[in-house]
């Protein structure tokens, strides 16, 4: 015979919360996966071009909660590029949580990650591992999107989930980009 007990919260005798909705717990999450080939034109000025298919969204349960995001992004690119983070379609500029390097500020060679200086841009895409975290600072809906920007004098292209020279054939691999967001209770 099964039994069920439902309450809002559970505490031990010392007053510590035991339930899985408390401090340090994952209280909500979002996931994205995109496997189609996709081209993004990267300008060398402005705040970057968003790769909207990799957006992650959350409606925070508490404004002080921590948001942790991780992506594996695959593709092929000239090495002179940076990867940025946008929040609700704007580059994140909040102090300490910028979507670029806050020591050098927002210029075209400042980002969270650089391109990939591999030995061949024609075939075999690379992969980038991006981690971004911030305080929610609101209980309104937020969405976070990786964006790309040329870090040199020329504008360029970033080819996601594919090699530079082909959409997919022998020696020209097709891949996926994947991300998740955890909201951490505080």
């Amino acid at each position: 015979m099964s039994s069920e007990l439902r309450v809002n919260d559970i505490y031990n005798l010392a007053g510590k919360r035991l339930s899985a909705s408390g401090v340090g717990n994952v209280v909500s999450s979002d996931f994205t996966q995109f496997c189609e080939p996709y081209l993004v034109y990267t300008q060398n000025s402005g705040n970057g071009t968003r790769f909207n298919a990799l957006s992650l969204s959350v409606t925070p349960k508490k404004s002080s909660n921590i948001l942790v995001m991780q992506w594996v992004i695959t593709g092929e690119v000239s090495w002179n590029e940076v990867l940025l983070i946008h929040r609700n379609d704007d580059l994140v500029t909040d102090g300490g949580q910028q979507g670029f390097n806050n020591e050098v500020g927002n210029n075209r060679w400042s980002g969270l990650l650089g391109g990939w200086y591999d030995n061949n841009n024609d075939s075999t895409p690379a992969s980038w591992k991006l981690t971004y975290h911030c305080v929610a600072n609101t209980t309104n809906r937020l969405y976070f999107t990786p964006a790309v920007r040329s870090s040199q004098g020329n504008e360029d292209w970033w080819r996601f989930n594919r090699a530079w020279a082909s959409n997919g054939q022998g020696n020209y691999e097709r891949t996926c980009s994947i991300g998740y967001l955890f909201e951490i209770g505080t």
Partner: protein, 197 residues
Amino acid sequence: MSFLYADNIRDTSGNITIPPYGSVINTSTMRYDGRPGYYARGWIAPSNQNTLFALRLTANNVQHPNNILVASWQLSIETDNNTTFKVLKNGSWQDNRLGTSNASAPSDEWYWKGLVCAYHDGDNSSTPSNYRLLYICRAGSTGSVNLDIVAQAADDGGRTVYINRTYGSGGQDAHEICVCTGVVFEIAHENGVGLTD
């Protein structure tokens, strides 16, 4: 609003059921935007190597030594290809087995063993590389657990490891400046306890 006060809630087998085993019960993060260079030496014990303290990831308020820590760094680094990256837990070199010290490893293997190694990329002067360093261990203690990264030359020489910048510049066209971030999750283990604050 209702509350239930008890020391533990157990299933009919006597196992503690809250929080569920496998749950994330603590999360700590780090971010570093600085642009230093570290000198990575070659044939030397990792515990005597230069530690990249700026990239320290501290698991705070660890609840039980048997719980699992899942640590992950996004590293933006430029260095020569013959470089390995290791993890020190509370100052002690760990290998990739859960919570196991690698102190018994032959000393002549110190310099070329690591969790990840630098890429053999096409150019060290511009565009730093991007690494994911993933390290999983038992917490081993409660309170704070410090996880540090050591970069080590994988040959007899030494070399500079640049954080968040390239060899060639501290920031200019085609010489990107990036960020290192990290996150560590404490996972409640069936042999541990997962109280949350």
